[in-house]
Symmetry: C2
Subunit: 275 residues, 2 copies
């Protein structure tokens, strides 16, 4: 069984990976807090010395740790997503890790959405943003994710390790409680920010119906990367098979065999609440 | 006359700009050392507070300062080309500077050369790398220049200023003494690294016949950017009209009217030495 280090394993995306791929890989978690039920190394990716030992003996790294917000300051992004990215790539290189899967983001191309929303969310609008689209980051966060992709390509092309780098421009992954296209909107209701009878609720659902990446589809996509042995560097969009998505998934389908099982159209309304 | 702040003005590229465009703009130099014959602010771009006043009242910034070597360490690149880029863009934004011309580099796409050299240098090889080519940085330096392009696009698209950003992927600009396709090779002779009858000399000339950007062509390209008022963000290759170049200049010609006057074919051998 392959050994896989998951940085940011305690987070939303990390738990999707380890929950759905349990038993398929020997996971080690690297996070600032311990991940439940997984061998965990507690360290911060901005601390190069602290994280280095965790990379020894790993076959692959799934690098999810970092500043996750488009609202984040430059300083937060600089430390966590730029210095942290270098630290993780350098540790992977020195430990001779074969594969590096990187949580990039749809915000690398976020200004397409900014320019064309809300028309973009209409079925049949026709824009398809794929891996060849010129990047248009919408934030320091988006710029930092593009930096991470570029540095990944630099590493696989100029150093001996890692040998393979997969940049996943992930859409919207939610916690288990909100893992459906109504998730963000329901969370707004739960947080008391608005009611179900509000324009905010509807707008949030409309966006999530396009960008939702279900937890099992995300884990499947990571699994396809971990099983691949042909890619040196590539970029894939991480999104479920939602009819109104504007992100291409054909390239991921053709290259790594990504086959999403979920679609926003499977949901006509939010799930019944249990409590 | 428009006011233009030139960072790195004392350097090889900076002096090409100010020498050839003297009298066309009101230049201010920002460099760690004073630039000859130009109003100079002596400051380091890694020091945000020190550089900020120099941006006040400028119509445009030509940002050339930074770590210039593909051999540079990550730490040098991080401070000078990543933190320094942010500092300059943020200062330009706060000072409401309209245009930002950025010295990017051919090393953003350097791995195309690495993959195809030396066949690439043959006339008729046929590879044309243009502004739409997927980036393939060859070094921390190359990755940092791609970062700078991305952050420039982020700024013009998400903030009010700067309004225009021009990324120039510059080829090989030399000092006045070596401003010809034999320049790098002659410098190697002058430095005692090899003789004119060596494979190193020939290889250096072969590369420079493709990548040479003459000082007046570079200055003309910067001038075309400074006079433009239509571009929001774009990428142009900075190279003279050399027959064996693999960088596209048609996009620069069509978009900003770049018309290089020099060509490596104007030189069959190095110039006579005066001293």
């Amino acid at each position: 069984m392959n050994s896989v280090l998951v940085t940011g394993a305690a987070g939303r995306v990390g738990t999707a990976v380890t929950d759905h791929l349990e038993g398929e890989y020997s996971f080690t978690a690297l996070d600032r807090e311990p991940a439940p039920d997984i061998e965990s190394v507690t360290a911060d990716i901005t601390d190069s010395d602290a994280i280095t030992p965790a990379f020894d003996g790993q076959d692959a790294v799934v690098h999810l740790a970092g500043e996750p917000s488009t609202e984040a300051s430059w300083d937060a992004v600089l430390q966590n997503n730029i210095v942290g990215m270098y630290n993780c790539l350098e540790a992977a290189r020195n430990a001779e890790v074969e594969s590096f899967v990187f949580a990039s983001s749809n915000h690398v191309v976020g200004m397409y959405e900014d320019e064309f929303a809300p028309d973009l969310y209409e079925p049949g609008f026709g824009l398809v943003v794929d891996h060849t689209a010129p990047p248009r980051p919408d934030s320091f966060y988006g710029t930092s994710k593009l930096f991470g992709e570029a540095m990944g390509r630099q590493y696989v092309e100029t150093f001996e390790y890692p040998k393979r780098f997969y940049a996943l421009r992930i859409g919207s992954v939610r916690s288990p409680r909100y893992d459906h296209p109504f998730g963000d909107a329901e969370r707004g209701v739960d947080d008391g920010r608005y009611t179900r009878d509000s324009a905010e609720y509807d707008a949030t659902v409309t966006r999530m119906r396009a960008t939702w990446h279900s937890r099992r589809d995300l884990a499947h996509q990571v699994d396809r990367c971990l099983r691949d042995d042909s890619v040196e560097f590539d970029i894939f969009y991480g999104v479920s098979d939602n009819p109104t998505r504007w992100f291409d998934v054909e390239h991921a389908r053709a290259t790594i065999g990504y086959r999403p099982k979920d679609s926003a159209d499977d949901w006509s309304g939010p799930p019944e609440r249990s409590g």
